[in-house]
Amino acid sequence: MKIKKNIPLIDQHDKFGFWGGKFGGNFIPETLKKPIEDLTDKFEKLRKDQNFLKKRDFYFKNYIGSPTSFTKLENLSDHLNGAQIWAKVVSEANGGAHKIYNATVHALICRAMGKKYIIGDTGAGYAGKMLSMAAKKFGLKCKIFMGAKDIKRQKPNCDAMKKNGAEIVPVYSGSQTLVDAVSECMRYWVSNCDNTHMCVGSTVGPNIFVKICGWSTAQISKELKTQIKQKFKKIPKKLKLINCVGGGSSAYGFWSEFIDYDKNHIELIGVEAGGPKKSLLHAAPLSRNAKIGILHGAASYVCQNNEGQIHETESISAGLDYPGVSPIHCFLKDTKRAKYTYATDEEALSAYQLVTKFEKLNPSLEPSHAFAEAIKIAPKLSKDTIIVVNSCGDAKKDRDILIERLGGNL
């Protein structure tokens, strides 16, 4: 299994849609074969279409607010007294997280396909909020599928979705979180694929959804590469890019331009959700050695039992609370290009406290997992090591959880 150079990772799959011969693919009911084939053909055309690309760039700049800033966290770096810590503040994007890139592209594709309805899943509510924003912007009718448990714990984002005119469909089956929301969304698409476009909220699902999402979030690393070159004049000798990984859309977007570099030069570190400290449940299939399985139309490492039943997961961060992970991250893991670890709920919370204590930054619980790793390793590293953390979401949505868990220490 080998990564090819000079070809985007999203395109390095075989004719059946597998990366590295075994991750990804299309494990879908017959009914979805045709809509997925249509979407695949359309996307391949659009990504070569200059008009479409112009449109995308226009909305990325004028609607999303690209580029988001790249900044040194001086106080935090001083405090840790080791490697320099920098942040790519993707949470500055319109809506407050990286999910807006994928949502905007899907809305544009939906329009180009002449469909009026768009549906999507959401965990933390960001994918849903962004899709509802994009739907409103482009005049599409929008339905968002969300686990009942997540609706309760991510209320601010739900309010936003409703305000944008989207219908939130609560999902009561299974663990009532993201995994069930994705299932229900796919089931809805099976029944309505003739007039409805589906947006999968991360780099998961059948092959084409991994590709569209990765193609969209790749914008983050394109910006970062330019910004790094501007700040340092060239790419620093020791660079580490740390990103949280749930489905893996923000991590792929953050890394895509840097995958061709040697891993001793640019290290890619993914941080999964370890769940509560003493709990057996987690959402860390890569770093806690889950077996390969099939979930939501693709093969990837999946938290599951011996029989193939998908495990319930547990994490303080709804956005990372997912038993599977992107096939491209499985590919990056097996080729050893990226390294994956996890942070517990408690570690993410302390990281959040430390970052907000020293910096004018308010990372949501998802990137707080990435900060936890940065905080752990920075003191042991030399001062010329540059760590960049993707601060991919804003903590406004986590207000209730933070008050509950941290109380007056907020």
Partner: protein, 267 residues
């Protein structure tokens, strides 16, 4: 597989000038023992019995089958139990064809070859793997055929002409036509006439293939689709089981009554 039990049941039904009746129930719903009893009683009226091996992340099943599947998993059903249910059933009804139906991850975790050899041992006659479409299923389907197990291909209203041709030519004794764009148990939203028209397109490819129609088949709709080689009732049965449990009534008796009625409608 000309002498397969599956093929034979269609021949028998045709002799009686009616479509074959196929039932679907979930293994382990609501207990292992009870689901075997239900299977036995269904087989009194059904020509072919489909038995679901439940998965907790089913992407093509509606509420009724999901409820049955979650109930079975909660009550501890394991894949090996599914095989033992089939074995026990076959001890009494050796000529009644059984088709196992489920999702690929269960097969994948069990190991494809081991799964197929277990099927063979338990005398499973056919397999439907919902999320292993053509052409991805080619290798697996060939393995099934080698072991005298029918791999059942699915065709839906979205299947293109060219694809339909390929699927039919790669199919074994039976093809499953999904009546409409829906998960299982949806309300029939297409006219019977339209469904039969689509069905005929498949038949026209190869008259010798047995084509069954499923999704949205209930007491109300079954008669209108009588022309088909076979009709599958699943969600309606799961719904009846759920209703019986809720009302604390005998699930076996209630299910028998339902299937009897269904059978009478297509006689």
């Amino acid at each position: 597989m000309k002498n397969s039990l599956i093929n034979q049941s269609f021949v028998n039904a045709r002799k009686e000038n009616r479509p074959a009746l196929l039932t679907y129930s979930v293994a382990g719903d609501n207990t292992k023992k009870r689901s075997l009893e239900i299977l036995k009683s269904l087989s009194e009226y059904a020509d072919i019995c489909e038995l679901g091996f439940p998965h907790n992340t089913p992407i093509a099943d509606g509420g009724q089958i999901q409820t049955s599947a979650y109930r079975a998993i909660k009550n501890g059903i394991k894949i090996n139990d599914v095989f033992s249910i089939v074995s026990n059933f076959k001890k009494i009804k050796k000529n009644k064809p059984i088709i196992l139906m489920g999702y690929y991850n269960m097969v994948y975790q069990y190991n494809e070859n081991k799964f197929i050899s277990k099927c063979k041992k338990a005398k499973v006659d056919g397999l439907i793997i919902v999320d292993l479409p053509y052409p991805e299923n080619k290798v697996f389907a060939a393995k099934c055929k080698k072991n005298n197990i029918n791999f059942i291909q699915l065709i839906s209203p979205t299947t293109s002409k060219l694809r339909l041709k390929k699927i039919v030519s790669d199919s074994h004794d039976m093809i499953y036509y999904i009546s409409m764009l829906s998960t299982t148990g949806g309300k029939l939203k297409v006219s019977a006439k339209e469904i039969i028209k689509q069905y005929q397109k498949i038949k026209n490819q190869n008259k010798s293939k047995n084509v069954v129609i499923g999704f949205g088949i209930t007491e109300k709709t079954i008669k209108s689709l009588k022309k088909a080689d076979g009709l599958v009732v699943g969600s309606a049965i799961c719904k009846e089981i759920t209703r019986s449990i809720k009302k604390r009534q005998n699930t076996v008796t209630n299910v028998i009554n339902l299937v009897k009625k269904l059978k009478n409608k297509i006689k």
